[in-house]
């Protein structure tokens, strides 16, 4: 193929000539021509214009080498371009521009032609030059720059939907900056533009481009990230604030670092977590902070959403101002404040927050609840109950499982802490009310105090009926075994009770409402101080309940019952006049149940009565002719109605339950909406769990008694209205009830407290315990949070370190025995030393001004003196003083990795001048034994710590001081490991001996939290003298246990603070280090607290008891 055809333009060639010339170009041009010509001719209309078009193509093709490609593209895109033009005659400008381009680069021109239609659809043809010049900014004659410019043509028309043409030029400038360093990157930036620019609006675009340009100038590498980050960030921010946000980023970018990127990403995320109306405020504050400390400003944005979760908008201002004040005073403190790493800041948030979290009030409420119920119950968050998957599913409603009370994790319903706490108290009191007023000790056969007992008779009749009739079907027949002795013993009383009712759900709902009403009545009776809060909560509970007028009839009556249980006497409820007598009877029953002497059995009888009333009301959709009328509750349950009731109760016994009379038009019955403060009341389940536990107990005591089998439980939960299996077990499990039963059964075995025993898992003495219990104890890790002292910010970082306490793993007992053998002499010496420390119980003290008796010698002296005319000494008494040794001590061993370092070999091996045997066989033997010896002589610091521990134990056991031995190590603030070798309260045992061998070098040394944890332990015991003895091998260090510019001092200061705090609690802290270089930091770390740097580490076992005895005397 010939590629070069000189397009020599003689004076106006004819059209045919033009076409012929065009077709003589490479085939692609011809193909394009044939595809386009008809449409172009049609669009251009005049011959003249068409000829112009043709000659333009030839002109383009002749502009440069390979320009025919551009020409082909020109021809091909012409129809679309002409379509886009309002007046096709204007195409001139277009192809003139194109021809100029194709003189530079055919490829560029091709792109131009191809993209032109897109441009012209959006902008006038006059604008073409501006567009082209933007693209030309990018083109520097190289192939790469050409490709970029071409790509620009391709991409940019679409962008014009969002930005101005001038912006496009700016954007091209930015791309050019980037391309100077990397055209690939520039191209990527360009490719991203359609995804990012749409988010930039007119007001923001300048700033946006400025940001891009700014960053490209400073650090072109971040160009793409900037673009991406901005694209992500902008939509997150309130429209009005976007520009300002970007300005901040530009300011931050000034240092050429990456900070502005994280600001874009995290700052925007933080702002987006704020409600829209807070965006301005937050950015205002941010701006203020920027003037003080950019770091603080960034931290502020990050923290603000979290803070706002806890306090309201107004208080955020106060919090912010406090932070600014701190920042002005001490920058580090201010930054810590906004990082939420300041104890003062945390305290302020707590103070400003109205939210009451269960965690904070649980100790108070638990004790309160224990006071009310007299039980050993625990107060736990509701999710814990739901997670046990034993029938409770909701995570935010209070409940009780009969032993413990569960409350939602936090309350933020009201604007003040007091009101929120009040709500907690009402929730708690209602639940404890169920316990205090015996909701769960329901006895099927026991009579109440108000209503006559009809249940057993009813059960008997139902049993008779069932016997008479042929068994309908096995499943239906099964739940009625009340009268057969064996099963009654294991069925819960509630199960028997609810078995009486064909419409179990209705009975269950009625009972719950009545029993809740009874409990509420008794709570209000006995706790009159709570009445105001209770009334408020009850009134609030009515709001938002479904209107009875909208409900099917039977459900409407249940709803009315619930409203009656919530409202006071003079309040009104809507009553359908046609059913007025039913409502009146309900009111009367309720009024009678609200009696000071009413028991749970009365609630049950009331349920029977109301069930009879309601089962005959069809559950039809409401009819308009019901004639609802608001009525006073007083009126409903008043005297007149009472009389009616008396007559009623006489005939109560005989009637049999019949299923609801209505049939087809009936709507299926649904339970009423929950009453929030009453929580989840599941009496049947609670009794079943209690029975399971009892059964378990009996089985353990090997008493022959009927047991609840899995089958029975399965039956129960299939019929019970209290359990919604689908909500208990999520996901598609084949056998949800199976899973439920197994967790229920294991609940019974483990007992209620198995999962959340908050007492320390102390290991019992004696090694007899099985493997199993040991494992479970090791798993049982206790954690505690401690603050950390930041000496730069002069503040604590709140709840900064998590100490994880567990029992030390056991090694072999050999180590203990061997150490005792090896150091028999030293042990005896130390023990003697210690025995001398034990004081005599009674010491006679003489020469006192007052005492038990005269010291006759002193009396005589005094008289002699007086006779001699001198002033006698009046100290003439003696007394016996009782002195007791009352010492508690914790030894804290550093188990950091550095304790694995070898110390110098023991001297007695080194200079052995043994004869080396001549006989080679003997020599080998000698060599091996020598190596063995040397291996054993390789001694680590930790080994000495362990030996010293053994020695101490021997000594301490002789004087009877209370002591605990713990080791600590860890990595990072979240993992401060704390191992108990011997708990403070634990007796010495074989297991303790074995655990000593378990002491091994582990990770780092974060001393502060370990000391604080040990301090807390000592603080819990009562002893006159308390000692915290810390043995370490070097300075404290850990990941993050430092601060920029003060790497070492930070840890030293925190440790110092921990020690000072221990001292403030009346504990004598003592630091012993085997680090010979310890003098330089120990002085600072201990201040005026006692410490010792042990020059010769070998002395440790000997020195330790000496120091101890001196400390505790």
């Amino acid at each position: 193929m010939t590629s070069e055809q000189g397009g020599t333009g003689s004076a106006s060639p004819t059209r045919d000539e033009l076409i012929a010339e065009l077709l003589s170009l490479p085939a692609a041009v011809g193909q394009a021509y044939h595809g386009a010509t008809d449409h172009v001719e049609h669009r251009l209309g005049s011959e003249e214009h068409y000829d112009q078009w043709l000659s333009a193509a030839l002109g383009i093709a002749g502009a440069s080498f390979r320009a025919w490609e551009a020409a082909a593209e020109y021809v091909r895109s012409s129809p679309a371009v002409l379509d886009a033009l309002e007046r096709p005659q204007e195409a001139n400008t277009w192809y003139e521009s194109g021809r100029a381009l194709s003189a530079h680069s055919a490829a560029l021109a091709s792109s131009f032609f191809r993209a032109s239609a897109g441009f012209l659809e959006r902008r006038d043809v006059e604008r073409l030059p501006a567009w082209i010049s933007a693209a030309e900014t990018l083109f520097h004659g190289t192939w790469k720059s050409g490709a970029l410019a071409a790509r620009f043509f391709e991409v940019s028309p679409g962008l014009l939907d969002h930005v101005r043409l001038s912006d496009l030029a700016t954007f091209a400038n930015f791309l050019d900056h980037v391309a100077q360093h990397s055209s690939e990157l520039a191209e990527e930036c360009l490719t991203m533009a359609p995804d990012s620019l749409p988010y930039v609006d007119d007001e923001t675009i300048d700033t946006y481009l400025e940001l891009l340009d700014e960053t490209a100038n400073r650090n072109w590498k971040y160009a793409k990230e900037t673009q991406r980050a901005a694209a992500v960030a902008l939509p997150r921010i309130a429209r009005s604030e976007r520009q300002r946000f970007l300005t901040f980023a530009i300011n931050l970018a000034e240092d050429g670092g990456k900070r502005y990127l994280s600001f874009l990403a995290e700052g925007s995320r933080a702002v987006s977590d704020l409600p829209l109306h807070m965006h301005r405020q937050a950015l205002d504050d941010f701006e203020v902070l920027c003037g003080l400390s950019e770091e603080a400003a960034v931290e502020f944005l990050r923290a603000a959403p979290h803070v706002l979760e806890r306090i309201d908008d107004d208080n955020l201002v106060r919090w912010f101002q406090e932070g600014v004040t701190m920042l002005e005073r001490n920058e580090a403190a201010g930054i810590a404040f906004f990082k939420l790493e300041s104890a003062r800041g945390e305290a302020l948030i707590q103070e400003l927050s109205a939210t009451v979290s269960l965690e904070d009030v649980a100790p108070i409420l638990q004790m309160y609840a224990r006071g009310l119920t007299g039980g050993d119950m625990q107060l736990r968050p509701t999710p814990e109950l739901a997670n046990r998957s034993i029938g409770w599913a909701t995570e935010d409603r209070a409940s009780t499982d009969g032993t413990n009370v569960f409350l939602p994790p936090e309350i933020a319903l009201f604007e003040t802490k007091d009101d929120n706490f009040g709500w907690f108290k009402v929730l708690c009191t209602h639940q404890t009310g169920h316990l205090e007023f015996d909701s769960f000790t329901f006895n099927f056969d026991r009579a109440g105090n108000i209503f006559p007992l009809t249940r057993p008779a009813l059960a008997a009749r139902i049993a008779e009926q069932n016997e008479g009739a042929a068994p309908r079907d096995p499943v239906a027949a099964a739940p009625n075994p009340e009268m057969t002795g064996v099963t009654t013993a294991v069925l819960s009383d509630y199960e028997r009770f609810f078995d009486l009712f064909p419409e179990r759900r209705l009975a269950s709902d009625l009972f719950a409402a009545l029993e809740d009403a009874r409990v509420d009545h008794l709570v209000r009776l006995h706790y009159r101080g709570l009445r105001p809060a209770y009334g408020m909560v009850q009134a609030a509970a009515v709001i938002g309940r479904p209107a009875p007028q909208q409900l099917p009839l039977r459900m409407a009556l249940v709803e009315l019952l619930i409203r009656m249980t919530l409202l006071e006497g003079d309040q009104k409820i809507p009553v359908p006049q046609s059913l007025r007598d039913v409502v009146e009877r309900m009111a009367v029953i309720l009024a009678r149940l609200r009696h000071d002497e009413a028991t749970v059995e009365d609630s049950a009888e009331a349920t029977v009565i109301l069930y009879r009333l309601l089962i005959n009301v069809p559950n039809t959709m409401p009819q308009p002719d019901l004639d609802w009328e608001d009525m006073d509750l007083d009126e409903l349950g008043g005297e007149a109605a009472q009389g009616l009731q008396e007559a009623d109760s006489a005939q109560m016994g005989g009637e049999e339950f019949v299923p609801g009379s209505g049939t087809e038009q009936d709507v299926p019955y649904q339970s009423p909406q929950d009453v929030d403060y009453r929580g989840d009341f599941k009496p049947e389940l609670v009794q079943t769990i209690a029975n399971l536990r009892k059964g378990q107990q009996r089985a353990e005591d090997s008493v022959q008694a009927p047991q609840l089998t899995e089958e029975m439980v399965r039956q129960l939960l299939e019929k019970s209205a209290e359990i919604d299996l689908s909500s208990v077990v999520e996901g598609d499990i084949d056998d949800p009830s199976g899973l439920f039963i197994s967790s229920l059964m294991s609940e019974a075995i483990e007992g209620p407290d198995a999962e959340f025993n908050d007492e320390m898992g102390e290991v019992g003495s004696g090694g007899g315990d099985g493997e199993e219990s040991e494992e479970s104890l090791e798993e049982q890790e206790q954690t505690a949070l401690y603050d950390e002292w930041d000496f730069v910010a002069l503040d604590y970082k709140p709840a900064w370190c998590r100490v994880r306490e567990s029992t030390m793993q056991e090694g072999s007992a050999e180590f203990y025995e061997q150490t005792i053998e090896r150091h028999a002499g030293l042990i005896n010496e130390v023990r003697r030393q210690f025995e001398m420390m034990v004081p005599e119980t009674y010491r006679k003290e003489k020469r006192l001004t007052d005492g038990e008796e005269f010291d006759l010698d002193a009396v005589i002296d005094a008289i002699v003196q007086r006779r001699a005319g001198a002033t006698p000494d009046d100290k003439v008494y003696w007394r016996r003083n009782k002195t007791e040794r009352d010492v508690a001590v914790i030894f804290l061993l550093d188990m950091s990795a550095s304790t694995a370092e070898a110390i110098e070999e023991r001297s007695d091996f080194d200079d052995d001048d043994e004869d080396i045997p001549d006989d080679p066989r003997q020599y080998l033997f000698w060599l091996r034994s020598r190596r063995e010896q040397q291996k054993r002589s390789y001694l680590r610091i930790i080994d000495l710590e362990k030996e010293s521990t053994v020695l101490l134990i021997r000594a301490l056991e002789t004087i009877g001081d209370q002591y605990g031995i713990y080791g600590f190590s860890g990595y990072g603030r979240e993992n401060v490991e704390f191992y108990s070798v011997k708990g403070l309260e634990e007796q010495f045992s074989d297991r303790v001996a074995k655990r000593i061998d378990g002491i091994t070098p582990l990770h780092a040394t974060r001393m502060g939290p370990a000391i604080r944890h040990a301090t807390a332990k000592l603080d819990d015991v009562s002893a006159k003298t308390k000692v915290l003895f810390l043995i370490s091998d070097g300075r404290p260090q850990d990941r993050g246990y430092s601060r920029e510019g003060a790497e070492k001092e930070y840890a030293v200061h925190d440790t110092h603070d921990a020690l000072v705090q221990a001292k403030a609690k009346g504990i004598i802290p003592f630091l012993l280090t085997v680090d010979r270089a310890g003098h330089d930091y120990m002085k600072e770390m201990c201040g005026d607290l006692p410490y010792e740097v042990l020059a010769d580490i070998e002395l440790l076992p000997k020195r330790l008891p000496q120091l101890y005895s001196r400390l505790t005397l």
Partner: protein
């Protein structure tokens, strides 16, 4: 001993001073028997069997002894060593035991008078001589060597050796030793020795049941019936906290104090703060819990 020290002119003197063995209970102390304690004590007294009263603080042990002293003293007209008749109650010598209570504190000691020593009887000796009821309160607090001293007094011998004078005293007929202790907060160290324990019959006291307590509070404090009921209820609830943060439940005594304050016009919740929650404990969270119970019960 003489009796000239009885100074009872209340219009002049703001206090009354008695010789220790002459202190008698003149008017009937209020005591509401819960069970058969009055009958049992009377029988023990008549049989000269020493009595231990066990029970938490402020549940009425001391009041019971006072009541019994009055009751036992009144019908039986005891003749005192000085020949005079005691028309009031029975003499009651109360000794509060403490850590430093020594044998000499009980038995007596030599004092200096001029340049001579002079023996002065201790309260126990005086009670033994006069045949009074000697009530050793909180006996476990006393040192062990002190408690041993009462051994010969508390068996059939009824002897008090006064070593320093080389004497042995035989107790007068009406003498009875009553000791009290609170098993609640004694540590293992402060348990009563078996040899001591087994010389007494033990009567267990506890806080009265709610209805009784309400009556006692009503009677003692002069508060209205309703408040007395509520106080008794509060007492019951607070006692549930024993060992859950409280070493001891609230005593009837404190409930009475609260009642008195209420009767004097202090608002009920405030009265309960000062007389109950703040009095019982220094732990702020326990105080708060008790306060929550208080605010639930009282308006």
């Amino acid at each position: 001993m003489t009796e000239q020290t009885v100074l009872k002119d209340a219009t002049v003197m703001s206090y009354s001073e008695y010789e220790i063995e002459e202190y008698t209970i003149d008017s009937e102390p209020y005591y509401l028997p819960i069970r058969d304690e009055v009958e049992v004590f009377t029988a023990a007294y008549e049989e000269k069997i020493p009595v231990i009263l066990k029970g938490p603080t402020g549940c009425g042990k001391t009041r019971f002894v006072e009541y019994m002293a009055w009751r036992l003293g009144r019908p039986i007209t005891t003749v005192r060593p000085d020949g005079k008749e005691n028309s009031h109650g029975k003499a009651l010598v109360t000794i509060a035991a403490h850590e430093d209570l020594t044998a000499s504190d009980l038995v007596g000691r030599f004092l200096l008078e001029g340049e001579e020593t002079k023996w002065v009887d201790g309260p126990l000796t005086r009670a033994v001589k006069t045949g009074a009821i000697c009530y050793l309160d909180e006996v476990v607090e006393a040192r062990k060597d002190t408690t041993v001293l009462i051994h010969p007094l508390t068996d059939h011998r009824r002897l008090l050796p006064v070593e320093k004078r080389g004497q042995i005293l035989e107790a007068a007929d009406g003498f009875l030793l009553v000791i009290s202790y609170n098993p609640g907060y004694q540590s293992a160290l402060k348990d009563l020795k078996q040899s001591t324990r087994q010389r007494f019959v033990a009567m267990e006291f506890d806080y009265p049941p709610r209805e009784y307590e309400a009556q006692i509070v009503l009677q003692e404090s002069g508060v209205d019936e309703d408040s007395a009921d509520l106080l008794a209820r509060l007492g019951e609830k607070v006692r549930n906290l024993k060992e859950h943060g409280l070493q001891e439940g609230v005593s009837t005594r404190l409930l009475i104090y609260a009642g008195k304050l209420i009767a004097r016009g202090v608002p009920a919740r405030r009265a309960c703060d000062v007389a109950i929650s703040d009095a019982l404990t220094d732990d702020p969270s326990v105080q708060r819990s008790i306060r929550e119970i208080t605010t639930s019960i009282f308006e």
